[in-house]
């Protein structure tokens, strides 16, 4: 983390138990001010617990939360510089859009004239001008979430927490809202922390992504890093469409690790991993990097090639997935763009070869 940017959120050895159930195990990380940060992970992995601990809706069982360098671990939500956007149904159903947004300002006794200005400004920011007098039940799901966003942003706190804000929207609307959220975050310039289980959503909005699973921080990095060069096997299996293969280390050098897959020997970039001969190791290749050719065709010196048999092709609209089975029974997927040489050259059961550029495979230590 660079020293130049101010740290908005710092979490130190934060843990949360519910009786014997551990929801979060000693998580530490920090978020720079003004970043769009996503907490991504499977359901029940502890990401919402983490967000609620940052927001003050839960008390930590262990560890501390620092916001702008101040320990806020035991402050209630309203005394933290955070505001939360909830999953759904969180508008006051008996208040108009305007009163919903204004309510927080009324509580801190902002003069009525100022309230009106700030509410109008915020409603136009989220694209809801003229909706002042509507009731929540007259709004669509997307519009309700926009009102929630306005209600939180109008408080002018510097960290916005979003708990699966788009989960109940349909796919198309979710995509639109993702870009909208990103645009709003860039405009207001405050820190956004966005919890989601949807990788596409996280990749769209976030500057940085933290993968949270089983109550632990698995991996953290920029969206591009996490997608293209995941360190952990879990990340590779969770994000993108990856082929994960396992083998035994047969030889190591400074730059390469040779793995014995039982049916083939391959070379993987070492990435600084300290492995010794005989250890088990896994590596992954993104499905769009995998190429299928006929047996014996030459792919080039910088390619790793293993034998396989062709299974079938699956048309997915934008892409076509070609399934192959490796000699040990694992299935691998090669994805190509539709209409871009996707015509099938192979018959099911045909002996083929699959290959990938040597330097694009990523070794996973854990």
């Amino acid at each position: 983390m660079t020293e130049s940017a101010a740290i908005a959120v710092e979490v130190v050895e934060l843990g949360k138990n519910y009786g014997a159930v551990t929801a979060l195990k000693s998580v530490s990380f920090s978020i720079e001010s003004g970043q769009y940060y996503a907490l991504l992970g499977p359901s029940g992995g502890g990401k919402t617990t983490l967000l609620r601990l940052i927001g003050g809706f839960l008390r930590p069982s262990a560890g501390h939360v620092y916001l702008h360098g101040r320990d806020v671990s035991h402050l209630p939500p309203n005394r933290r510089p955070t505001s939360m956007v909830f999953q759904n149904y969180a508008l006051f159903p008996h208040m108009t859009v305007e009163r919903n947004v204004a309510y927080g300002l009324k509580l801190i006794k902002v003069p009525p004239g100022d309230i009106r200005d700030r509410v109008d400004r915020m409603l136009s920011m989220v694209g809801l001008e003229g909706y002042n007098r509507r009731m929540p039940h007259e709004l669509s799901g997307g519009q309700q979430q926009r009102v929630q966003l306005a209600r939180s942003l109008v408080l002018e706190r510097d960290i916005l927490l979003l708990d699966e804000p788009l989960a109940s929207l349909d796919a198309k609307l979710r995509k639109e809202m993702c870009l909208e959220l990103k645009r709003i975050q860039e405009k207001v310039g405050i820190t956004f922390i966005h919890v989601t289980h949807n990788q596409e959503e996280a990749l769209t909005v976030a500057d940085r992504i933290a993968i949270i699973a089983d109550g632990e921080l698995v991996e953290e990095g920029t969206a591009r890093d996490v997608y293209e060069t995941p360190n952990k096997r879990f990340t590779a299996e969770f994000i993108g469409d990856n082929n994960v293969l396992e083998g035994t280390v047969s030889h190591t050098s400074d730059t390469r690790v040779a793995l014995d897959l039982d049916f083939a020997k391959v070379e993987i970039p070492a990435r600084g991993a300290a492995l010794s001969t005989g250890e088990r190791a896994a590596f992954s290749i993104r499905s769009e990097l995998l190429r299928i050719t006929g047996r014996g065709e030459d792919m080039g010196a910088s390619w790793q090639v293993v034998p396989a048999s062709y299974v079938e092709d699956v048309y997915l609209g934008l892409t076509v997935s070609h399934l192959v089975r490796l000699p040990d029974g694992t299935e691998a997927v090669a994805r190509v763009m539709s209409g871009d040489g996707d015509e099938n050259r192979f018959e099911p059961g045909q002996e083929v070869a699959v290959g990938w550029p040597t330097d694009r495979a990523r070794l996973h230590i854990a």
Binding site: N78, Y89, A90, L91, P93, H94, L107
Partner: protein, 306 residues
């Protein structure tokens, strides 16, 4: 419903034609939708109409005969009955108010402080008294509230009283206590059901915004539960006005309700008077509902929140 060949193995023999006629779309299935209409006419519209019509009939020695006279209404408004009726409304209003003050906080407590899984069990506890006949429950108040009752003896043993209070029983106070005891659960149920429809997120938003306890109650809980509170209030008010049992057992001179006044008229074989009292009660309640509707918009009771 033609049997599909794919399900041949599970095919049932076709029912005989006569059955289909009886239970099919032209038989019971069709008429079943009219049951509510029949129920409404038989048990609501017809008795109400007869009540109004009979209230203007001529009184005979044991029954009444067709005619038109306002004698019963004249009798009602020029006797102590009108005054008692007004007091009865006042006592019913007091019962509603006390039930709200005691019952609504219980509803809020159950919704907010009892874990989700236990909430319905706690609500069930308040249904238990209904397993015992109301007659028994109300009658059992006598040894509690009476001159030598539990309340008086405890207060005297503690030295708080030197003389027993005799005005608890056979007085308006006794009737109000009896009504609250009998009908309090309705406020708890209605309040709880209204609050149950409010999503937890709404309370968390209040934590986030820093809504204090008082404003949480006045700005959020009360408006969201208002339709439920009104429904519970109407129920308690109607019963406090109409159930003759409570003032019969716990009331006394000047501590009657509309139901008991009508009952007494029936005992005196003055049926037109009893019908007139009932008619006045119907119109009183319709008027109150109309006022409530203008204030709260009663259609919201059935409208899902959010």
């Amino acid at each position: 419903m033609s049997p599909s060949p794919a399900r041949r193995g599970r095919e049932l023999p076709a029912p005989p034609a006569r059955w289909r006629q009886l239970f099919g779309e032209n038989g019971i299935q069709r008429w079943v939708f009219y049951i509510p209409v029949v129920f409404f006419v038989l048990f609501f519209a017809a008795p109400m109409t007869l009540t109004v019509v009979w209230s203007v009939f001529e009184r005979t020695q044991f029954w009444m005969e067709p005619g038109f006279t306002l004698f019963a209404y004249d009798n009602f408004f020029t006797s102590a009955r009108a005054e008692n009726y007004l007091y009865s409304m006042l006592h019913a209003a007091a019962s509603v108010l006390i039930s709200f003050v005691i019952g609504f906080p219980i509803a809020v407590f159950i919704r907010r402080r009892v874990t989700r899984a236990a909430q319905h069990r706690v609500i069930l506890l308040f249904i238990l008294p209904f397993m015992i006949s109301e007659l028994v429950r109300v009658f059992a108040m006598r040894p509690v509230l009476g001159r030598n009752g539990v309340v008086n003896s405890v207060l005297m043993d503690l030295g708080i009283l030197s003389e027993p209070i005799t005005s608890i029983l056979y007085s308006p106070l006794g009737v109000i206590i009896g009504d609250v005891m009998s009908f309090l659960p309705f406020m708890i149920f209605a309040g709880f059901l209204a609050l149950e429809a409010v999503q937890n997120y709404v309370f968390e938003v209040c934590d986030d915004l820093g809504t204090g306890r008082v404003r949480l109650f006045t700005d959020i809980v009360l408006p969201l539960a208002a339709p439920g509170i009104f429904a519970g209030s109407v129920f308690i008010f109607v019963n406090s006005m109409g159930v003759a049992l409570v003032p019969t057992l716990l009331g006394g001179p000047g501590a009657v309700n509309a139901g008991l006044i009508a009952n007494q008229a029936i005992v005196a074989l003055d049926f037109p008077l009893a019908m007139a009292i009932s008619t006045i009660m119907i119109f009183t309640l319709v008027l109150l509902l109309y006022i409530g509707h203008r204030l709260f918009d009663l259609t919201k009771i059935l409208e899902p929140i959010s």
